[in-house]
Symmetry: C2
Subunit: 600 residues, 2 copies
Amino acid sequence: MAEKFVSMRNLKFLLYEMFEAESLTRYPYFQEHSREIFDLVLDTGMRLGKELLFPCFSEMDKKPPEFVNGEVKVHPLVKVIMRECGEGGWIGAQAAYEHGGQQMPNLIMSAFRCIFSAANYSAAVYPFLTTGAAFLILSFGSKELIETYVPKMFAGEWQGTMALTEPQAGSSLTDLTTTAYPTDQGYYKIKGQKIFISAAEHDGGANVVNLLLARIQGAPAGVKGISLFVAPKLRPEGGKLVPNDLQCAGIYHKLGYRGSPITQLALGENNDCRGFLVGQPHQGLKYMFQMMNEARIDVGLGAVAIASAAYYASLQYAQERPQGRKVTSKDPTQPQVPIIEHADIKRMLLFQRAVVEGSLSLIFQCAKWVDLAHVLSGDEKDRYELLLDILTPVAKSYPSEMGILSVSAGLQCLGGYGYCEEFPLEQHWRDARIHPIHEGTTGIQGMDLLGRKVVMKDGRAFMLYLEEAGKTIQEAKGLRELAPFAQALAEALDKLKRVTGHLTGIALKGEIELFLADATLYLEMFGIVAIAWQWLAQAVVAQKALAKNPAEADANFYQGKLFTCRYFFGYELPKIEGLAARLLTGDGLTVAMKQEFFQD
Amino acid sequence: MAEKFVSMRNLKFLLYEMFEAESLTRYPYFQEHSREIFDLVLDTGMRLGKELLFPCFSEMDKKPPEFVNGEVKVHPLVKVIMRECGEGGWIGAQAAYEHGGQQMPNLIMSAFRCIFSAANYSAAVYPFLTTGAAFLILSFGSKELIETYVPKMFAGEWQGTMALTEPQAGSSLTDLTTTAYPTDQGYYKIKGQKIFISAAEHDGGANVVNLLLARIQGAPAGVKGISLFVAPKLRPEGGKLVPNDLQCAGIYHKLGYRGSPITQLALGENNDCRGFLVGQPHQGLKYMFQMMNEARIDVGLGAVAIASAAYYASLQYAQERPQGRKVTSKDPTQPQVPIIEHADIKRMLLFQRAVVEGSLSLIFQCAKWVDLAHVLSGDEKDRYELLLDILTPVAKSYPSEMGILSVSAGLQCLGGYGYCEEFPLEQHWRDARIHPIHEGTTGIQGMDLLGRKVVMKDGRAFMLYLEEAGKTIQEAKGLRELAPFAQALAEALDKLKRVTGHLTGIALKGEIELFLADATLYLEMFGIVAIAWQWLAQAVVAQKALAKNPAEADANFYQGKLFTCRYFFGYELPKIEGLAARLLTGDGLTVAMKQEFFQD
């Protein structure tokens, strides 16, 4: 069995050497913190990951939640994790002291969540989904809602969920029909159905708090008529918890991510499901989307975490498995070599490492911007929010899409064993497949990036991104060994600009369908360039550290970083050539393709 | 539930319009056949596929084989399928009349196997694995072995297997240690272990006939000391079948392909496992590899069949599922459109169709060459055998690797439903993942292509391939609409030649490790170009057919072909740019990367 699922050395490299987490303590909001405290958070995460989550990784997959008489029985670990996370303060760690939080940077908590998700993705969903839901209430809810729900959620006693999807409204949230009927009692009566809701019913907590999108009776059509509600499974009433007419109608049997129940909900079948409005009427989607950046980046984080666990499992196998000989010495009487000595295996390992550590770097970059946007104001805040706006679809999609290929490469390293349940790769591969789907499919992210983020505010977010990447290029140019990569990234960014200009030109001509037809490819190209940028930035740090003659273990680590950077520029970055060729000459093929041409 | 898993229209297009299957009946071996007989074969395949195999597709996955007291219980369908295939003559259909066969072209039987595998891949493995094993005996075995085993196998009573892999010898067959001890009784006593053997024990037939590689005691080390044996589960003795000391030690629990048991075998634990030598001593690997081309092409066929079923399931969903509106008309009061109207969904459908129909075309091309090599002699036979040699790793790997991505695109079309067991996509995705692993991993195929096939006989196979593709380019150049694609393919082939010359130049300098380091990428590039060639060839046929003003349904079908060809040249072929860039500038990164740089 694999023993390692994430690298503490790499986490610390990114947090401290790359993103200088300690520098955040200069800001009043984080001033109580220190490197020691951050290390303690990471060590605790690693201890819980190793001792609590990882040992149940396979078992939670093999014994998925059961739906019995309208209730969902989950693995007993869920209750333990929620309690541990509640008691340790991990669910609300980022919240302000006044709300029972620890004012912990998102950057540090992203590393913590990464450890949890790498140890056991399904298990990690319970506490951190609760975090997201609680923050929505904190951000937009009334004092009463906050006091009623948030402490229980932060304590790990009540599960939080995000209840958006309906049978007719998945990617198209505009078509939500769940309805909230006003009463004069301070609540709404909710009627409707929700599907694909993670953890909306289970016995690992005492209650479930659904953050639910619904349409107030008579509201405008479309997204402008959607409001946000708290609709708990049990509602507090007269000092007790009473059922809130919110029935779990079933759970889905899924490819992976099996430790977490994905539920169908029937709301108000007995006309007694009460929903409590969060904030103003008709602002629900806006509220939800203000949390969406972080939720989407966290999907990328979950993807990279799974890919990390898969990478270390395949690395361990490659180091231990003897098979074949070097192509230069085929003498069958000589012993076999560990497969890590074969170039093609090293290529697959480098690919995985490039995806994992490159994606994680981008995600931590975003996490730090979340922190900076939180503590800064005015133009500075705007700057980081715009950077987050444009990079969120990338930080969600690149790890999600490439994470699957990364895990697949890990599985391939194991040959036939990779296909068998006795090794964890096959589960990682199944688990990973959810990420391009939930929190907005890759197709939706592509349209968000190209159709909204790139063009918003006259392209200002895009310009800020180019500025950030430009800084890294300047730094790298100053290091002889990295100058060719700096040059390559500069050329890639030029190509991206050219493609962007070409596409926005189509938009200016009003050909919107053509403009967006290949948005997914644009997202893919954008993602590769962004990860190249992160690899160059890591290489700058590694190269400088190597120049200081570090101890052998550190030197090997930094050399590994430099080789992986070279891998990325040699094997991954050239993929933009084909994408750019397509994007620059798109002939509207997929727009022109008629439905009947698929008939045969 | 999806209703269609393969397109008869497309099969007939490929068989009759593209590859002119009827022309094979000019050769004496096939002279008894006709279009009517071929159609009957296809219709029977489709009937069995629809009525027998497809209905159990999901059930065989959900109720996988069970290992009970050393025996393996499989789905009751297995016995029925084996009987139907035996009675219908489908297992031995390609064999000569004198051996109980029907002298059916491999081209036609490839289509038959495609239908079966698309309907239910796991179920199709039983009869067609038997075909391969029986043909090995027919080709190299003694008259006695043939008479003892082949009729029972063709009748579907006895299962055939290929028993190669051992715990220490997967990709490295040179390290086989299973030993055959000579006796003076006309048989050998076998001792050893085999793992990952498909269907080597189950209750769907009366016996299992393993075609087994072992080393005769005292044989030379390496591949030159490997012999081929028949080692049955039960051996005929005195008119009865008696146990042959060949124990099933267990079965593997797998990611997919679950309807078929993959077994571990312990041979000769009681010193009474008898093996019967096939052909000459120490020639086993050579024999095995003479069958390997077809076995490997059949893996490609299995991959494309799964991708076909996934494609039609996602196409049906895309036609039926309303979600969202055209980007040009977002009015939420208007009804939603079926998702097939979204450009990004059409792109994912075109991608699937491009992979499925492009791969199938290449596989049928190879199947026809198998037939021609069989009935021709001298230079002509050599020509087709060389073409098969060079294209076999491509026909195995392109569908295997791209099939997974194709199914993944199909799954993505379904969004959250694609991730759920109530739709077939998730199973197809799991089933498909075996193909880059078995019958030689993709890495092994890459080394076979670049290290052996491309350079063999001074590059003659490669030249023949260029000649074949050149013919298609000439044809396409004569059609105004296709001339640009002809030009694009010519340029792609030039690029492939340049890359090949660059790499073989490295080999000539003796830098073998560097030469082969990126063989997998070379295979990928080679594959994309080969499929582009097949798409151009299909477009030529479609364009000519369209010029004859066919009926509307046919016109739509041909238009679909032309659009998919355009898709391939627009979206897939440009991927060779990045691959060529890498292959032309490879710096030996994966050779130089040290094991300790992976440590952290």
